[in-house]
């Protein structure tokens, strides 16, 4: 058996060891992909928490109905079985989903159109990324005005605070110089704050 460190192997290893040139745009894409994943996880947690909140409210209403039914049947001297059954199903479908629908309707009504603009005459492609689109650079591509070199895009956002940035030519991440800088930088990358007013 040859020694693993013989000359041929040493030459092979030497040829294979140099680190490849790294394309900064590719590395930037990794961070964007991780930021997108982070946002996806966060939104998933929010959805799960909401579901628990809604089912908790439904459960509380159902439990209250159950207690009331038991109390009523006890006060009437009846067997509680049938009332228990109806009380656990009837309230469950009434108040909580209605509240959720009402909130969703309010949210939809409160959506605001906001135009973002960036001056980048030599850029080939610009998109706006933020917490509203999961930091997805494919979601909101901006349009270039050929005369002014201004890139613009209209976002439809819920009222509140949003953090956003621009991705230029799929490689350069930059904050909006005209808006306040976000303190909570994502992945060490700068972002700007956008405040969308209440309806």
């Amino acid at each position: 058996m040859h020694d693993e460190t013989d000359e041929t192997l040493a030459r092979i290893a030497e040829a294979l060891r140099p680190l490849p040139d790294v394309d900064p745009a590719e590395k930037a894409r990794v961070l964007v992909a991780v930021a997108t994943e982070r946002e996806r996880i966060r939104q998933h947690r929010v959805r799960v928490a909401r579901r628990w909140k809604v089912s908790g409210a439904v459960g509380a209403v159902a439990a209250a109905g159950l207690v009331a039914a038991v109390w009523l049947s006890a006060s009437r001297g009846e067997a509680p079985a049938t009332q228990m059954a109806s009380s656990t199903t009837a309230p469950a479908s009434a108040p909580a989903p209605a509240a959720v629908d009402a909130r969703l309707a309010r949210d939809a009504k409160g959506l605001k159109a906001v135009q973002v603009v960036l001056r980048a005459p030599s850029a080939q492609r610009v998109s706006v990324v933020g917490d509203f689109n999961g930091w997805d650079s494919e979601a909101d591509a901006m349009t270039r005005d050929p005369v002014s070199g201004l890139w613009s895009h209209t976002l439809t956002l819920r009222p509140g605070r949003h953090v956003y940035a621009f991705v230029v030519d799929d490689s350069m991440w930059m904050r909006d110089p005209r808006s306040p800088e976000a303190a909570d930088e994502d992945f060490g990358r700068p972002g700007s704050v956008l405040l969308v007013g209440q309806p």
Binding site: E4, T8, L16, D21, V22, V30, G188
Partner: protein
């Protein structure tokens, strides 16, 4: 981890072959911080390991686009899996386990390509005989490496290029140490045989 500390750690050369954070202690500080949601620490890990991961993926897949995709996918999965990472495992073999899995999946999708990648700092000098020889030698190695069974190629690269110990390789591959030694030996024998023959043919 303090903000200042994380800023210092992230201040590595972000465009080239930044070395992995020096000490195991430094790595474990970064990994712990990343586990606790410190995005700068995670970015520093990407910065530190990207070039090494890309090197491994390039040698495994022989195609730059596939390699970059596998590395990106690896870091996303690392981020997703961080809450389950246990500190008693070393980070590097854990990272290489995910990377090797991504490369296997990508390799299964795209078997055998004829495209070979060039990397390293071979100076661009036309008509330079030494330059041509260096290129030819790298291409031969790339071809010889690509001709190995995937398991042998993976074991050879981990041992002789990434300098992982056999214990770390066992974590990274899930294979036993004696099996790994056998894979490395077979890979070495095959490479030595093929490249010695090629070398002889070139000289004749």
């Amino acid at each position: 981890m303090s903000r200042l500390r994380s800023l210092q750690l992230i201040k590595t050369d972000s465009t080239t072959d930044a070395p992995a954070p020096g000490s195991a202690a430094e790595r474990s500080v970064l990994v712990r911080a990343a586990q606790q949601g410190d995005v700068r620490a995670f970015a520093a890990l990407v910065d530190a390991y990207y070039a090494r991961c890309l090197r491994f993926a390039l040698h495994m897949l022989s195609n730059r686009g596939d390699a970059e995709e596998a590395v990106q996918d690896t870091f996303v999965r690392v981020y997703r899996a961080l809450p389950n990472y246990e500190e008693r495992e070393s980070f590097e073999p854990w990272l290489f386990r995910i990377l090797a899995n991504r490369c296997r999946s990508a390799g299964a999708r795209e078997r055998r390509r004829s495209e070979f990648v060039e990397f390293g700092e071979v100076p661009e000098r036309a008509n330079d005989r030494r330059h041509d020889e260096a290129i030819a030698w790298r291409e031969e190695i790339a071809r010889a490496l690509a001709s190995l069974p995937e398991e042998q190629r993976e074991a050879f690269l981990m041992r002789h290029v990434e300098d992982l110990t056999y214990d770390d390789m066992a974590v990274a591959t899930g294979a036993g140490i004696s099996a790994l030694k056998m894979r490395v030996k077979r890979a070495c024998d095959a490479l030595r045989l093929r490249l010695t023959e090629d070398d002889r043919a070139r000289r004749d």
